[in-house]
């Protein structure tokens, strides 16, 4: 015994023991915290696979499940685990009686009735996974239509953003002109601008153009660059050595060719990370689609799902099924591009 305490004393007094202790505490905290993070995800997935009856009556269980039953005299009766005569047995509850008592029988011997308190016995469940919730949810709303709209807004917008932001970032990173610095400061100042201060006239403008209730208000502005992405790309372009430009210039390349053949290939990681961020933004965006899209056939997934909730709010299993489908693409994208992702965040976070 003394040896063990001596050992611990040595462990904690030496630097190594201290480090070990702090590392295990850290891991413990991280592990318990990550359970808190993961439980909601788990709840979302398991709820999407539940029977609606379970959601209403048996909310305590995370797992999609159903009472285990056995056939007694031609009827399905719920099974309980009962400790009886010092043995555990699976008995069926055939009748509830006053004061919380119940009549239990062994399914094979329905004539021997045991009267026991119901609450003392453990009800048995079996796993009950409803995959059909997914096809049901997809057909209950114009899912493919919403998905199509979301993909158009996301990818056409992403193309427009990459196209315009590359041009503008190139302009701000490679040319000397009297007003460019001032313009760049102006650009930066718009990062902080709350969008509400320009949204109403923009809405009125699109309304006059007849574009409200089409996807155009969500796509067209992307072709005119935005401060955030221009800033990120410009910062990256600045790190590309000027010698490369000079070499191309000597070979007779014009600025557009330099952008296309020198800068953009070098800036692939920055373009990819800006593109990923745009995907996440456009995929999850709710505010602008809500304002600009008025009829069902034009909605994106975000608005479609919210409205689906308005109509089908009791059908939690269907709502959660669509929710799962909606978070899968961002999560997949995240896992496939994790490195670029975190670098991009670091880049935007710190240099910003």
């Amino acid at each position: 015994m003394k040896k063990i305490t001596d050992y611990f004393r040595w462990l904690f007094n030496s630097g190594r023991g201290n480090e070990l202790l702090s590392k295990s505490i850290t891991t413990l905290i991280l592990a318990s915290g990550s359970i808190l993070i993961l439980i909601p995800f788990l709840f979302m997935i398991t709820t999407s696979l539940k029977d609606p009856a379970q959601i209403r009556s048996d909310s305590m269980s995370m797992l999609p499940r159903k009472p285990k039953t056995a056939e007694v005299l031609g009827k399905d009766e719920p099974l309980y685990r009962v400790i009886f005569d010092g043995q555990t047995q699976e008995l069926a509850l055939i009748r509830k009686m006053p004061e919380g008592m119940g009549q239990f029988v062994e399914p094979t011997q329905p004539d021997i009735i045991h009267e026991l308190k119901i609450n003392d016995q453990k009800q048995l469940y079996r796993l009950d996974i409803h995959w059909e919730n997914y096809p049901e949810a997809i057909t209950a709303m114009p899912f493919w239509r919403y998905l199509g709209n979301t993909l158009i807004v996301t990818f056409v917008g992403m193309f427009g953003m990459l196209f315009s932001c590359s041009l503008v970032a190139y302009g701000f990173s490679r040319f000397r002109a009297r007003w460019l610095n001032l313009l760049f400061l102006l650009l930066l100042s718009t990062i902080m601008l709350p969008s509400q201060v320009r949204l109403i006239p923009v809405y009125i403008l699109f309304n006059k153009l007849g574009w409200v209730n089409s996807l155009l208000p969500l796509i067209i502005p992307q072709f005119f660059a935005n401060a955030y992405d221009v800033f990120l790309l410009r910062q990256f372009f600045m790190t590309i050595p000027l010698e490369l430009d000079d070499a191309a210039k000597i070979d007779g390349a014009n600025p557009l060719q330099i952008l296309m053949y020198i800068i953009l290939p070098q800036a692939r990681p920055a373009l990819v990370s800006v593109g990923i961020f745009h995907f996440l933004y456009a995929w999850n965006d709710f505010y602008e689609p809500l304002i600009f899209l008025h009829t069902r056939e034009n909605w994106t997934l975000a608005v479609g799902l919210q409205t689906f909730d308005a109509i089908y709010t009791i059908n939690t299993h269907l709502i959660m099924a669509v929710s799962v489908l909606m978070i899968v693409p961002p999560i997949l994208l995240f896992f496939f591009s994790q490195k670029i992702f975190t670098q991009g965040v670091v880049f935007s976070g710190i240099k910003g």
Partner: protein, 328 residues
């Protein structure tokens, strides 16, 4: 020809023109989608405008609607005497949320970042898990949390009752007292977004500073408080500014959580009537574009003032490494 041909121009002049040419997409976007609309909404804020009929000049009426009665109300202490009580309610809700969410977010994300900056086994797995919620923020996640908070169907209250023995846990989104705290809890779940920024900041702290502190006999807490924290103040500052601005634009979560509930948008009893939600209501439910523009400009000015305040105060408490070098 009035203009010199491209060939005759000097190299510098050609470079200048090329520079302007490349930034033209942004200049057009800035004029059409930013500065033009901003000026237009400033104009609309002095009008009565419902989109259908042309705007009618009403002078300061909209501003008066928002601010009138303010002195009476302060004197009597009765907020119902305000010209537009809902405007003040929305300001109060927004500031209340900010006062809870911003400090808690700072503490949690900083704490996690410090832990995740250590060389523990599986650190990349932990980082991934904590970062995950922040990439899927939006409608799906809010619908999920609405169900977690649901007193009858959710998992939170059974958990509180069975594990912590809380007899009557709050009704969360159904209770005016608890609706905002519920939204704060929801926001803390996605704390990973700011955590990753702090983590990047921590990785930028030079290790020789820690070594020096160790030599001087500083313990872990002293090393954090005297080395890490001062080095992190610029990042904290950055997150604080952006967090505050985004609180004033908080919308999606409230809309999704409350618009399908019994009391409607901003319920219960206007306890989740965030500033941006109230602005949306005026603009796109009542089509009172004049008043909504007024609210937008008041928001703009609030954001300007708060940003300026933080920038000013940052001289006192934000530490930039370069300054130290400058002072020697």
């Amino acid at each position: 020809m009035a203009f010199p041909s491209i060939q005759k121009m000097s190299l510098a002049r050609r470079e200048e023109l090329a520079g302007y040419a490349f930034v033209i997409p942004w200049i057009i976007g800035f004029l059409v989608f930013t500065i033009g609309p901003m000026l237009a909404s400033l104009y609309f804020s002095f009008t009565k405008y419902d989109i259908v009929t042309p705007p009618q000049w009403v002078g300061l009426d909209n501003y008066q609607k928002a601010f009138s009665g303010i002195w009476d109300a302060i004197r009597s202490g009765d907020p119902r005497q305000f010209g537009d009580p809902l405007f003040w309610k929305s300001l109060q809700v927004t500031l209340y949320y900010a006062s809870l969410a911003l400090p808690l977010n700072l503490i949690f994300s900083m704490f996690l970042a410090v832990l995740l900056n250590q060389k523990v086994p599986g650190v990349n797995v932990w980082r991934t898990i904590y970062f995950l919620p922040s990439i899927i923020a939006g409608v799906a996640v809010t619908l999920l949390w609405v169900r977690i908070f649901n007193p009858r169907l959710g998992i939170l209250n059974p958990f509180l009752t069975n594990v912590f023995g809380i007899k009557s846990p709050p009704q969360w989104l159904g209770d005016p007292e608890w609706a905002v705290p519920a939204l704060v809890i929801m926001s803390l779940w996605s704390v990973g977004g700011s955590m990753i920024i702090y983590l990047a900041g921590l990785q930028g702290v030079p290790t020789d500073l820690y070594d020096a502190a160790k030599v001087d006999g500083a313990n872990a807490w002293q090393r954090f408080w005297n080395v890490t924290f001062p080095m992190m103040t610029p990042v904290i500052f950055y997150n604080l500014v952006l967090g505050m601005i985004s609180t004033f634009q908080y919308f999606t979560q409230v809309y999704v959580a409350t618009s399908n509930s019994l009391g409607g948008l901003g319920s219960p009893q206007h306890s989740t009537l965030f500033y941006n939600v109230y602005l949306y209501q005026n603009a796109f439910r009542y089509f009172d574009m004049g008043y909504a523009s007024t609210l937008a400009w008041i928001l703009f000015i609030i954001v300007l003032i708060l940003t300026a305040l933080i920038f000013r105060s940052s001289d006192v408490w934000v530490y930039y490494e370069g300054q130290l070098r400058g002072r020697g």
